[in-house]
Symmetry: C2
Subunit: 602 residues, 2 copies
């Protein structure tokens, strides 16, 4: 049983889908205890191999006919007798924070990891064969004389060979024996993919033989204690070497604890994890490596290193096999980190003749445009308004945030994360809100209130405010509102994104409406209402079927690099050809920016 | 001013040779305070470029006419006005332990070390050139994209580049940037050569640009606390892992303290030492690396590893540049360690068509035979009698040991180390003694006393004893004597050596008298009286001019491997072709051994 969008797979023989969800600790609501009364455990059967009971009477009370037609069920009522199913949990049925899947885009990679294992039973020593233990091993492994080996392995070599009755398995990575294990352990090769986000660290445990994702875990990036945004972390880290060490320690500890979790849940030993591949923006990348991000923060924004680099995990104290490696996915530039490179790996826009646009919205929005013949990249400082900051009622996409909005006849309806009482509005909600306000004629294209006598517009402390949710419905009893200043802040951000891809298209020589595909990458993109995003001009309005949600691209990209040396090598070659466009030195930037701010901007 | 046999060079402008010796801390006697009265500071001028005063009246009192003719002087009287000289200090003029030189055999190597330095002034960052710091560096160093770099260097890269105004020097070793230094430090590339002997650790600091040996230091191997001989160290180390760690720690600490000494005396920074190359017998090699020597101690005597291996110095905590390397010269087998391989490097018998025999006498005697067409090697357990053990009056070659003996008309004359009152007899003395006793008809070819009524033969506690030094002349007032049992012990040892090279010659298909050269390697060989060694059959009696003292081969060989990658690579190729002969499984060994024991044995 696979639950989307988390991609969590649960096996066993429970009776109902809700039982499966409970067994697998899947974030599915079920407030009546599974007796079919609350109707909160609504799910959609996406794929089914096997047999399932028909809708019960209880379900018919909670589901519309159209929903039943579309495969919606109450998880507590639906019973799979045998077989497999993929079940989609709609946002309103989820508990906890919003989680998104990588849309499985990394799953189609042929495993070809950097670590290979060879089991061999060596010949015992005799006077006729007096080769050293190590030569005996190398002879059997058919490794070249240039194969390197660590001192740690040589130290345990003589006793290990004799205690295992000369039957050992060697793990070889980058022409180096990195592990030597008793008996045959060829079926145990695992890796870790990590996305070091500035607010969240995501860790996936991958079986490098099958390519399967065994376990997932994530937690907040504790560096937020020293600054929510990247700039304040750069400032803090640059102040003293001790600060840099502190931020580094925090993220290493977080990763170690996530590794503990996925190992425990997956029943995998730390020593059977031989490589960790990570992505992150340039600053997260540097902080993890213990390199000052100071010069990423000042013009011309230069990272210390951006290549694909590998080093021993023990150099950072990351808790995998003691001779295992950590590999950094390359950066493109100071503001286009390896999280954006992960978008390349996931979308593979370099493999097709179709021209694709990839947009990853965040405080900085990374934009890629191109195809197999060439790729351009830029980054644009879209500011934190998409994360709810600098907006009077703004908040992060956590429980209680208004995440989608509809306005019909000046009647505002909305959904919140976890269906909790609204506390504020997050980025996806703001996009819907502004687009709907424009469509409903409440605001002008420059974001000004058209008619201040609108019953939902009240005089706020400093200026007029449009009421999204009245105080009687909200968590703290106060109105959730939006001001002209908020809308302006948001339009500046979207103007920045729009001018980024506009200039890229101009330099590439293609009309935005002529691109073959638009990918919305990253966790934010997944929750955006496409029509509203097009209305606002955040993305080009091409044929909707060619607009793709790429999902949790960052960790997915890390997994591709982890699983496949072939893809990793290909990436390195492609990155050499990626053309980085520094928008701030483009002569057309300011005029394009100004044109991009209004809602129906150019 | 170079003083031999230590090879110590002293510069400056003192007045007398004794002043030079004092300045350079050279072990030269001078008991009257340099006023020409004691006559103990006798030295021989070997080479002279410049002018020197003629012999003074005081010198004429202490030196014979023949000595003056041969260039002997009293160091306190001889004054070099200007120029250079090489001065030989004869054994009787030395203080302290016997020291031997490497006969300079390593000095003719073209420096071609594993470490290269490149200084470059990088272009500063601009919006037009936004390459990362690392790409900027690599571009300037013209190193390939596959050049590796440690995280430690990346950590300091951004600040270092900017603080040094973009002028830096990189040290590159094995396709890896191992050091990055402010400004131009291309003239500072140093290495350390170490001979880890079971009783003495020798450390030379080498300038890897000029090839010159900058400083030398040595100290006792403190592992002797846990067993004088190799076997007891194997036993101790095999008992518990903690013991192995303890022995390892001792030798690492010793090496670190020797490095401190040579750095201080040579005015060289630890961080400018980028490689340490060491030799040692297989057990010393394993103990230093922290690998159990247990299986070298039991048949079929297999080391864990014998290849040329390199690893980072910090893995062992050896105090050179933090990213510097330690390289182990390869072993040939359990009983032919890298100290014996050093003999190959020094004698280069693999480079000529002449067939050479190399003998390195010790508790185990390593023997090499061959030429450019092929080399055979064996080791023979000659026992500790050459080191004075198992001989009733035997002692090590330290102050007070009888080191040479002459017998004329039953009158025994001898010299002792440091000219001290005799305390016992060391290996070189025993060789002289037994040969002379045989030549004088005192013993038979099987080492039995011929005529027990000889006035120097007295009835000892258990058996008759031949008096070497009467009690009135000795340190403790007791006679220094030798028994038939002592002589037998010695003959067994020399029989073992002789049978080793006899079998090697047999298998190689050459008559021992037809070899072109015989090298006596190692510290013991240097002090042997060749005529007496031939009389006893320890070495073949070929033309004396073809018998060569190879000197302090072990550290010399390490220096060749340190200074030259070319020689190192050549060595690896040659070692693959060296044929190891395990004597104990040779069918002819026992009969050859029995024949080799008597003095004029076959």
């Amino acid at each position: 049983m696979t639950f989307e969008p988390d991609g969590k797979t649960v096996s066993g023989s429970p009776r109902t889908l809700l039982d499966f969800a409970l067994l697998g600790n899947v974030a599915l609501r079920g407030e009546c205890g599974g007796v079919g009364i609350c109707g909160k455990c609504k799910v959609q059967i996406v794929k089914l191999y096997g047999t399932i009971n028909g809708p019960t009477e209880k379900e018919k009370k909670h589901l519309s006919e159209k929903e039943i037609e579309e495969g919606y069920r109450l998880a507590c009522q639906a019973k799979i007798d045998e077989g497999k199913a993929t079940v989609y949990i709609p946002p309103e049925s989820r508990t906890g924070k919003r989680e998104i899947s990588s849309a499985g885009l990394d799953e189609y990679i042929e495993p070809d990891s950097s670590v290979k294992k060879i089991n061999s039973v060596l010949k015992k020593t005799t006077f006729e064969d007096i080769r050293t233990d190590y030569d005996r091993l190398c002879g059997k492994l058919s490794c070249s004389s240039k194969t390197e080996v660590s001192l740690k392995i040589l130290e345990k070599l003589p006793e290990l060979l004799r205690k295992s009755d000369w039957n050992v398995t060697a793990a070889i990575c980058k022409n180096r024996i990195i592990s030597l294990e008793k008996g045959d352990t060829c079926d145990k090769i695992f890796g870790i993919a990590v996305d070091i986000g500035s607010s969240k660290v995501i860790c996936h445990l991958v079986n490098l033989i099958t390519g399967e994702t065994v376990e997932r875990a994530n937690s907040e990036n504790p560096q937020v204690m020293f600054g929510e945004d990247i700039v304040s972390r750069i400032t803090y880290a640059s102040k003293e070497p001790e600060n840099l060490k502190k931020l580094q320690r925090l993220v290493i500890d977080t990763i170690n604890s996530l590794i503990d979790t996925v190992c425990k849940n997956g029943g995998v030993l730390h020593e059977n994890i031989y490589e960790l591949v990570f992505v992150g923006n340039s600053v997260m990348h540097h902080l993890f490596l213990g390199i000052t991000p100071k010069y990423i923060g000042v013009a011309p924004f230069i990272p210390a290193v951006g290549n694909l680099i590998s080093f021993q995990a023990k150099e950072l104290g990351v808790n995998i096999n003691e001779e295992g490696f950590i590999t950094a996915v390359p950066l493109i530039g100071g503001f286009i980190g390896s999280d954006a490179v992960a978008n390349l790996l996931i979308t593979k826009i370099y493999e097709t003749d179709e021209v694709s646009l990839v947009i990853d919205i965040g405080t900085n929005t990374e934009i890629l445009l191109g195809n197999s013949k060439g790729i351009m990249a830029c980054s644009t400082p879209s500011g934190p308004s998409f994360e709810g900051a600098h907006i009077s009622s703004g908040m992060k996409a956590v429980s209680g945030a208004i995440e989608s909005v509809k306005i019909e006849e000046n009647d505002v309806t909305f959904t919140t994360i976890d269906n909790a009482k609204p506390k504020g509005i997050c980025g996806s909600g703001i996009i819907d809100l502004v687009a709907c306000m424009y469509n409903a004629g409440i605001i002008t294209r420059t974001g000004k209130f058209k008619d201040k006598s609108n019953p939902r517009i009240k005089e706020g402390e400093k200026s007029p405010e449009y009421i999204i949710a009245e105080g009687k419905y909200t968590e703290n009893g106060k109105d959730i509102t939006i001001t002209e200043k908020d809308i302006n802040e948001f339009l500046l951000a979207k103007g920045s994104i729009r001018s980024g891809w506009k200039i890229l298209h101009e330099k590439y020589g293609i009309d935005p409406m002529n691109v073959d595909k638009v990918y919305l990458a990253g966790s934010f993109g997944t929750h955006v209402n496409i029509e509203n995003a097009i209305t606002l001009g955040i993305i080009p309005g091409i044929d909707r079927k060619n607009i793709v949600f790429a999902g949790e691209t960052a960790v997915g990209g890390a997994k591709i690099a982890l699983k496949s040396l072939f893809e990793r090598d290909k990436l390195e070659k492609i990155l050499k050809e990626v053309e980085y466009i520094e928008l701030s030195v483009e002569s057309s930037f300011s005029s394009q920016y100004l044109k991009s701010i209004p809602i129906t901007g150019a």
